[in-house]
């Protein structure tokens, strides 16, 4: 019915036969349009409901989960911010996510350069490998990493998480950076060489500034992929080192309190803020970044 609305707007003079055929239709058409609108609204509501529900949850006064909340309180936020366990997990995950976004961005950007501009056999296989961690079930990767890390005492360590999460983060960077490189006009790099820039200067003065939005998106996505990650974290955490994903999983499983909702709200709002920042970076008509990224 959306199609028809457009057609009527653009071509008011349809063939007479069509007008004749549609006699008596307007009422039916209005009802159908309304129904479709309601259907879409319901699906969209279904999509956002679980994300939105955590906000009233986190502000509810009752300790059991109730809706609508009886009153409003910030005590769960206070509980989250003073609980040493939650704070330890949050800081641990933050450190890991920052480090992961750096390593994944460097590794992924270098890989993308080889995939798009490189001259070597098996480039297709290399590209597929770099995207592999996205397809391999994370439970398989989690179990596999545990098998290797456990005897080396790498479980629950910063370095163990960094390795695992870098592997998970690289595909995000490869996707955004290869897209940016493919959009980049190859003549720009030739022009730089022609102006006397060597390969390194060409990369730093021309290529990198023009793919920067793609690199930044990759960095943010790999940061969030690490911070949000729960499955691999579930297997490579231990009592000494627990990521926020593992901590939340345990609390949801054994100790369902609104502190989880408070923590979730903090995480969701920070994530959306970061994503919004990337969108702004790429969509704004910034003359310095015409190679915009849209994800």
């Amino acid at each position: 019915m959306f199609i028809d609305r457009n057609i009527n707007a653009r071509a008011p003079a349809l063939v007479p036969a069509a007008i004749h055929r549609s006699r008596g239709r307007p009422a039916k058409q209005v009802i159908l349009t309304l129904l479709a609108g309601v259907l879409i609204a319901l699906i969209l509501f279904f999509l956002v409901l679980p994300t939105l529900i955590i906000i009233p949850m986190s502000l509810s006064t009752t300790s059991y989960l109730q809706f609508p909340p009886q009153g409003i309180t910030l005590k769960w936020y206070v509980a989250y911010f003073v609980d040493p366990d939650w704070m330890a997990a949050t800081w641990f995950s933050l450190r890991i996510a920052v480090a992961t976004s750096v390593t994944a961005t460097v590794v992924g950007t270098m890989t993308s350069l080889a995939v798009v501009r490189g001259d070597m056999p098996l480039k297709g296989a290399l590209h597929a490998l770099s995207l592999g961690p996205m397809i391999v079930p994370h439970i398989v990767l989690g179990v596999a990493l545990y098998l290797v890390f456990s005897p080396l005492h790498l479980t629950g360590t910063f370095i163990g998480f960094l390795i695992g999460h870098t592997v998970l983060g690289v595909p995000f960077v490869v996707i955004t950076v290869t897209a940016a490189l493919q959009r980049l006009d190859p003549a720009l790099e030739l022009a730089a060489l022609n102006c006397g820039a060597n390969r390194t200067q060409t990369f730093s003065h021309v290529t990198l500034p023009n793919i920067a939005p793609g690199v930044a998106s990759g960095a943010v996505f790999s940061f969030l992929a690490s911070f949000d990650e729960a499955t691999v974290a579930f297997f490579i955490s231990d009592v000494g080192g627990k990521s926020i994903g593992r901590k939340m999983f345990e609390d949801i499983d054994f100790n369902l309190t609104p502190v989880i909702a408070a923590a979730s709200t903090v995480i969701v709002l920070s994530s959306l803020f970061l994503i919004g920042f990337v969108q702004l970076l790429s969509k704004s008509g910034n003359p310095k970044n015409p190679a915009g990224e849209h994800l």
Binding site: D185, A187, L188, L190, A191, A192, L193, N194, C195, G196, A197, N198, Q201, T202, H205, V206, P209, N210, P287, K288, N289, P290, A291
Partner: protein, 371 residues
């Protein structure tokens, strides 16, 4: 004068089975302005790419001044280039774009760099726009930035790849003049690629016609127009009619070509290849519109072709008639009408066409043209 001689020797480039450039030999003098014209896909961009060093030729050598640069990296060649779509750095202002080649040469440490950029900005009349980004400029302004960036480091050789292709006709004509003015002032050697033969003829000292990777002919605009080596060049440069016929007789000074029932005479000294055409062989007579004269049908002679005027085209001062020949295969010919004719023939009237033997040329039949 900063221009240097540029020599191409047997330069070839293949991409797999595709011969993009074959056996190109070309000697360009210091400070000369040479255009390369040819249809799309004829290898013009590839040839520039080889000179700029973005690709290495499959065979042959490229020499600038006394230095063989065939395998030299592009950033060491000191050759300026204006790209087809300008390739301005979108994240840099106009000034930064123009400064870039100097910066890469480490010249920005010297005091006079800033003055040099100012002078270049003045030269291309962009001083007031120097802090804008390329996307804030019009096509013509972007084009001038591209030229300035290619000239600012005083390269002895400058390459331009269809630099005016994206501009409208009026602006293009103004820029042709600008580019020519700059080149003459600086004295650099310029290779200018275009698919517009008119542009090539107006701007260049010499023009090279490229076709399927080969240089068909190199010469001054006048030479190409008056003495094309082959049918492709004749067709590509200016407007021309081809009239198929058969060589009926031949002597020291004249060849008689039979077209339908008419014998058309051509001066035998016109073109080296003419001697190859044996009596009885199929040929094409090439006649430019201004070398065909139109007379009333009653004035026809045994050496004129007859036809009917289908259309009269006005092109500014002159008028061109499209004449449908009576003899099979009823070709359509373009013939210029003298402007001083008292009663010019009208549409639909029959006319007689005569040819000046000295201005006609004879080429082989259509299948055999081109490589």
């Amino acid at each position: 004068m900063i221009g240097k001689r540029l020599t191409l020797r047997h330069v070839q480039k293949t991409y797999g089975a595709v011969w993009a450039v074959r056996e190109v030999d070309l000697e360009i003098g210091a400070g000369e302005f040479v255009s390369i014209v040819g249809p799309s896909g004829s290898g013009k961009t590839t040839l520039l790419t080889l000179i700029a060093g973005f690709e290495t030729p499959t065979a042959g050598s490229i020499i600038v001044g006394d230095q063989d640069v065939t395998v030299l990296a592009p950033n060491r060649r000191n050759i300026g280039m204006v790209f087809q779509k300008y390739a301005l750095f979108p994240h840099m202002t106009v000034r930064k774009n123009i400064e870039f080649p100097l910066k890469m040469r480490g010249l920005t440490k010297h005091g006079d760099t800033s003055k040099r950029i100012d002078a270049m900005l003045d030269l291309v009349q962009l001083g007031s726009l120097q802090h804008r980004y390329p996307h804030q400029l019009s096509g013509g302004q972007q084009q001038r930035v591209a030229v300035a960036r290619a000239l600012v480091f005083d390269p002895p050789v400058i390459l331009m790849d269809e630099p005016l292709g994206a501009l409208d006709k009026k602006l293009r004509e103004a820029m042709q003049f600008e580019i020519k003015r700059l080149q003459e002032r600086i004295g650099a050697t310029v290779i200018y690629v275009t698919h517009d033969q008119e542009e090539a003829l107006t701007m260049s000292d010499r023009v090279a016609v490229m076709h399927k990777g080969r240089l068909e002919q190199v010469g001054t605009p006048n030479e190409l127009y008056a003495n094309p080596d082959n049918a492709f060049v004749a067709d590509f440069v200016g407007s021309i009619n081809f009239i198929p016929g058969t060589v009926s007789s031949k002597d020291q000074s004249l060849i008689a070509v039979k077209v339908g029932d008419t014998l058309v005479k051509v001066r035998a000294s016109n073109g080296g290849s003419i001697r190859e055409h044996e009596q009885g062989s199929d040929v094409r007579i090439a006649a430019r519109p201004e070398h065909i004269s139109i007379a009333p049908h009653g004035d026809r002679t045994s050496q004129s072709l007859t036809g009917t005027i289908e259309t009269v085209v006005f092109a500014g001062a002159s008028r061109t008639a499209l004449v449908r020949l009576h003899a099979p295969p009823h070709l359509l010919l373009r013939a210029d009408m003298p402007s001083d004719l008292l009663s010019p023939p009208e549409r639909g009237s029959d006319v007689a066409l005569t040819f000046a033997p000295d201005a006609l040329r004879v080429f082989g039949p259509a299948e055999r043209t081109g490589p």
